[in-house]
């Protein structure tokens, strides 16, 4: 069972929910927590464990071999991303624009654009009791998050398919990284807050989840700070509200110090029960 924790808006409590839920559940069984917020992965701050493995991840990008190139111009014409451009008698490759589609490399009649490895990030495995955390981290300056997210899914499938429950901490937003992160999920938990920004971004997130056709439910964090517009929206759209977490200085302070808070706040563990039941019913 793969549960993705997502939200349109950033800072609504995805990491708070994913880490606390994962550690809570890992008291009884093996849990895999996958941090796919690759631009800003934070789960490791809350998990006290031992690093078992670090695997460097590469993106494949063509490199121009001047000695073989006949300057036929096919590569430049082929690349839809303007990542390979022939300027006079020189072919320039713009690494950040490349999508690693291999078209220029494999269609080059002179084999003058062999694909080469470029580091884009790292995937780290941290073990803490029954909990395995797989953290995916994009190098600073690398633009595309999606290739690393895809490679993380592949690595997880290969190495950790024996762990029954997987919790995926997703990036914020509604564009391609979120779609890539939630791709294999059986259920999507949408974390929001009861404010106009929270509601606006929840609506976008709901549209995204409907587009990829996954069952989902809402968790309202800091439910007592705003208004009831989020709840009314969920009722209207018949989206289940699985849990409401109060604003509590103890939570905010604990979180800010990298501490888990579920054992201090009874409402949280009760909420986890509701969440797991809802996910099991839906899957």
């Amino acid at each position: 069972m793969k549960i993705a924790v997502a939200s349109g808006k950033g800072g609504t409590g995805k990491t708070l929910l994913a880490t606390n839920l994962a550690v809570f559940l890992s008291r009884e069984q093996k849990i895999l927590l996958v941090d796919l917020d690759v631009e800003e992965p934070n789960d490791f701050l809350f998990i006290d464990g031992k690093t078992e493995n670090v695997s460097v991840q590469y993106k494949m990008i063509p490199a121009w071999d001047e000695s073989k190139c006949t300057l036929c111009g096919i590569c430049s014409e082929t690349c839809q991303y303007h990542a390979v451009v022939q300027l006079g008698t020189v072919v320039v490759v713009f690494n950040e624009l490349c999508h690693s589609c291999y078209a220029c490399s494999e269609l080059c009649p002179a084999q003058a654009l062999p694909m080469q490895k470029h580091k884009m990030g790292e995937i780290k495995t941290i073990i803490s009791g029954h909990l395995t955390l797989v953290e995916s981290r994009l190098d600073v300056g690398v633009e595309q998050a999606v290739p690393l997210i895809r490679q993380t899914h592949a690595l997880v499938d290969e190495n950790y398919s024996d762990i029954q429950i997987q919790i995926i901490d997703c990036p914020p937003g509604t564009s391609c990284p979120v779609v890539a992160a939630t791709k294999n999920a059986n259920y999507v938990l949408l974390v929001t807050e009861p404010t106009p920004f929270g509601l606006n971004d929840l609506k976008l997130a709901v549209e995204t989840i409907r587009k990829i056709n996954k069952p989902s439910g809402v968790v309202i964090n800091r439910f007592d700070i705003g208004n009831d517009a989020v709840e009314r929206y969920c009722e209207r759209e018949q989206i289940p509200i699985l849990a409401k977490i109060p604003f509590d200085r103890k939570i905010a302070e604990g979180y800010s110090n990298g501490e888990l808070v579920f054992d201090k706040i009874r409402q949280m563990t009760t909420s986890f029960g509701h969440i797991i039941n809802a996910v099991q019913d839906a899957c």
């Binding site: 349109g8 808006k9 950033g10 800072g11 609504t12 990491t15 690759v38 631009e39 800003e40 934070n42 701050l45 082929t78 839809q80 991303y81 950040e96 999508h99 690693s100 589609c101 291999y102 078209a103 494999e106 269609l107 994009l138 600073v140 300056g141 690398v142 633009e143 595309q144 998050a145 990036p171 914020p172 937003g173 509604t174 564009s175 391609c176 990284p177 979120v178 779609v179 404010t195 106009p196 920004f197 606006n200 971004d201 976008l204 549209e207 995204t208 587009k211 990829i212 700070i225 705003g226 208004n227 200085r249 905010a252 302070e253 979180y255 800010s256 110090n257 990298g258």
Partner: protein
Amino acid sequence: MPVRNMSEIVVLSGKGGTGKTSITSSLAVLAGNKAVIGDCDVDAANMYLLLEPDFGKTFEFYSGGLAVIDHDLCSRCGKCADVCRFNAISYINDQYRVNSLDCEGCAYCEKICPTHAIIMQERKSGCVYISETRIGSTMVHARLDIAAENSGKLVARVKNEARAIAARENKPYIIVDGSPGIGCPVISSLAGANYVILITEPSMSGLHDLRRIVTLIKKFRISAGCIVNKYDLNEEKTSEIKQFLQGEQMMHLADLPYDIHFTQMMIEGKTIVEFPSPLKYTLENIWEKVKKQLDIKDQ
């Protein structure tokens, strides 16, 4: 008299939910008609909730292609699926089909299809709007279609429109609200920026994410200042952040307390500087500091 250079100020945070949009909107109110506003958080744009743009002009944004297979011409050879690195083509019910969410528009399949059964269709991926707002300034904003790609290109488009308006109307400032993270929309919003305002919060996550965005900004050699929002939720972490900023020789612009008024104002669709309060005073101070930084750079 020579026209003063136009300055582009981009507000970023690394971590989401630190208060970027509330603070950017407040600065927009303080700048008044001297600024053009750009909302570059294109996949979760919220500024419109505070500034009430009129969506006066709409432009559709096309970017990238989508492979479309003509099943009458297709010989079922499967070469397209073999070359697709995005696993976007699969064989279902006797037909090769393209999953539009996975297709990245590389056109490799189109190029190698022996029966020319594949064409690349232009894909609409969002809209760009040019609006007049309730605060009297022009705002360029956008909406990326759900699950779409190319947010970086849409950000570039928003910034280009904002620059064109600022140049035409002689506005000295462009104030841009950015996305969370450090990936393509953020890098795109940094291109051409003169000053970055970073908003962080005093938590381990806030500091961790701040370090990453600072590394990124240094790569681009853009000068920046930082605001610690909700500083009183963890004063120890706040002083850690200040030490970090000092080490990086980055200006600490201000501390803002956790204040429920931020949320209450948001619910009313207003910014925090539209009512008298100590927060208003602090934000006015920040805006003066930022302007001064830009003047120093200009000289």
